[in-house]
Subunit: 440 residues, 2 copies
């Protein structure tokens, strides 16, 4: 075979075992939480017809698709998120229960400029409720998100909630049209927490072509802060009864009524500057941040998208969802040192030597496993010193040594790597001895 | 948004909840088995530089890659298997433990002609040992595979084992050269179980250009059958001491010595017609079949590939692995009715009605979850009949009804869907009542 340099594509990465063990533990909590809310698992293909994905995320999203012609000259693209594939599924399978609550944990691909903490392949954990326009569903996915973060041991997080109708009302007040200009302005507003007010004003002027009066109107609105009750009261005053903005504020009020009832009042708050970059949102939107890492960016976000499924179905089907970014959150938890690092999946190594004892070693490993003890068989005959070094390198706690002498006497040496103590036990008592050492 | 037809690409599919629930249960067993053998989890990117994958699988494999130029004009391809990415990883990260035992569960993509049971995207579950040339490692991955099938409740399976060196010896005897012709002939031989002897002879003559004497030599060899001990004895007689074929037979003998010691003699057997289609195998090879579904094809396969990692590294690093096809196996287990079908992740539904009881419903669902009971909140106010139909449609066993009357009295109705019995309980006793109904 020709020699090739071992390397990964820019923006992609390998997850080595210590990272994967941490991720697996997180995924267990996340999936258990989804199931505890009765959400059903779903998996969709990595590749979709390009037209299924195009036009759903906005121009920027479209330009970031991994899109190509396949061997049959079909125009295809890797999935960009899990929401649009869900919308397709809901439209495609009328036999699914309705309302349909589903979760999906899967990688998505975006050809973004790689940056610190931004990758072109990353795993999203999404939970969505399709087929309910009731704001109870909005409150439930927020509650679900909070339960996931709680379960993962995140001590302080803030779920910042807004509503696209409120933002539409804000743009109405500033005399701006709907459609593309609306989205472009929202995308600029979305950058406010990252780039600050001055830079945001400049972008609104130069890139979005807004005049000072319009920009002033937007910032008069965005400057409303305080408790959720205060923000709701003050922003309500800005909108006429029956206007789209007022409806948005009333929706926020109802969602927070339910969040209060389920004890989430301290974890979620209204934040009028939350805008979300994606095209398809229509109502409630939210982003969640780690309280102890203010500059870290959102780890979980989502919202209501009542028009998306209708792009695939004969009827409009309202839907709302939440998406947790597994790898972003893991990076955050690592920075907070909440993650317990672990290098191994088995705590026991069984040694291997040349000759007649090899088969015994393999048999002992099998017997330990049959007793419920995860254990690794060293996969080749080697010096004991090399095997002990490997045991330490891979985080083992106990080494079972069974060489030719032990095979002749039908016994094994059991070495506790922490105390370095070593005892000989008959083979019949091996599992019990190892088990008692591991439970110390 | 423009209307688009909801559809998936040919050869791809959505996994709906009942399928996903069955897969999740299988994956739990599979991953637990990998960990019980001390294998470490790894994840590699879906996309690789094309040159990392090219030339490893043979011409047919190369032609089936999903390969394209990305937005930066890089020549990239979706991974075709999990073995070549592992080889790259072993070469790329000298800091990994050596020997390195890893598992990876992930989809792979092959632009094959779709057929019944053959898809362009499917999940492989791979376990490999890199860095050991000891045949103990070959025996261990076979043992690992058997433990997975056992754990999954597969009652009768056969692991059919051969060795590429034995096949090389067979081709030597037939006077055939190495390299491309060897691989082409093996790929034809690989089809023997599917297409039968007559058609195989015809292909060897027409497509591979072999003469009758050569074909006769191959079939003289392939006709050796019987117990593993008999096949080893008879095939040994065909090869001179020191020849590559003889070394292959001796390797088989050693592997089976270990398999016998760990009690696998009944599950694995030598089968000289197993050839494996992929380029990179160099020693032991195996395929596993479901005993009760003779025509179903292999559900698990693998082998030794001592030259592959060297394509990426300065040194040769021997390796051996096994790969279980999750979806193929699931299809087989479904046919055998070994899979328990399940439509739900929560056994309890909490109803929702308009008005003041909504918040109570959300709170009760949260309290049940806090008590460890997975439960779903119906996500919108609706008639009780609609909610009960949904509960039955989604496989619930218990429905908790909390409407305005119950809210006023701080109680809830608990309905057992099987017996249709309904009792009223105070809210404080709800979790206990539901729990006792579920444990019946």
């Amino acid at each position: 075979m020709d020699k090739v340099e071992a390397r990964v594509l820019k923006g992609f990465r390998d997850y080595l075992p210590s990272e994967m063990i941490a991720r697996a533990r997180m995924l267990e909590v996340i999936e258990r939480t989804f199931r505890s809310f009765g959400f059903l698992p779903l998996m969709t293909p990595a590749l979709e017809y390009a037209d299924v994905l195009l036009g759903k995320y906005g121009d920027e999203g479209d330009s970031l698709l991994y899109r190509f012609l396949d061997n049959g000259e079909r125009d295809v693209a890797l999935r960009y998120d899990l929401t649009v594939p869900l919308a397709r599924v809901v439209a495609q399978y009328p036999e699914l229960p309705r309302p349909f609550k589903r979760y999906q944990v899967a990688p998505v691909w975006r050809a973004e400029k790689p940056a610190r903490g931004r990758f072109r392949e990353f795993v999203q954990c999404d939970g969505d409720i399709a087929g309910s326009e009731d704001l109870l569903a909005d409150a439930e996915v927020i509650q679900l998100g909070a339960a996931m973060l709680d379960g993962l041991g995140v001590k302080s997080f803030r779920i910042q909630v807004n509503n696209r109708k409120v933002l539409a009302g804000m743009l109405d007040r500033a005399g701006l049209g709907r459609g593309k200009q609306e989205l472009d302005v929202l995308r600029t507003v979305d950058k406010l927490p990252k780039i600050g007010e001055e830079k945001t004003r400049e972008l609104l002027r130069i890139e979005n072509g807004l005049d000072e009066r319009q920009i002033g109107g937007i910032f008069e609105f965005l400057s409303i802060a305080g408790t959720t009750a205060e923000v709701i009261r003050r922003s309500k005053e800005l909108f006429e009864a029956g206007s789209v903005g007022r409806r948005g504020v009333e929706e926020l009020e109802e969602v927070f009524g339910i969040l209060d009832a389920v004890g989430l009042e301290g974890r979620a708050a209204v934040d009028l500057s939350i805008a979300r970059g994606l095209n398809y949102y229509t109502g409630t939107i939210y982003e969640s941040f780690l309280g102890e890492l203010p500059g870290f960016g959102a780890v979980m976000s989502g919202g209501r998208y009542d028009g998306l499924i209708g792009a695939f179905a004969r009827e409009e089907i309202p839907a709302v969802g939440i998406s947790l970014g597994l790898d972003r959150l893991l990076a955050g938890l690592r920075e907070l040192k909440v993650i317990e690092e672990c290098e191994s999946t088995a705590a026991v190594l069984v040694t291997v030597f040349d000759g007649a004892s090899r088969a015994l070693s393999a048999r002992l490993a099998g017997e330990l496993r049959a007793a419920g003890i995860a254990c690794e068989l060293f996969p080749q005959a080697a010096k004991i010193s090399k095997q002990l070094r490997y045991a330490e390198r891979t985080g083992k706690r106990v080494v079972v040594i069974a060489g030719p002498d032990e095979a002749a006497r039908q016994c094994a040496q059991v070495k506790d790597l922490a105390s370095r103590a070593q005892v000989e036990v008959p083979i019949a008592g091996l599992a019990e001895k190892v088990s008692s050492l591991l439970s110390l």
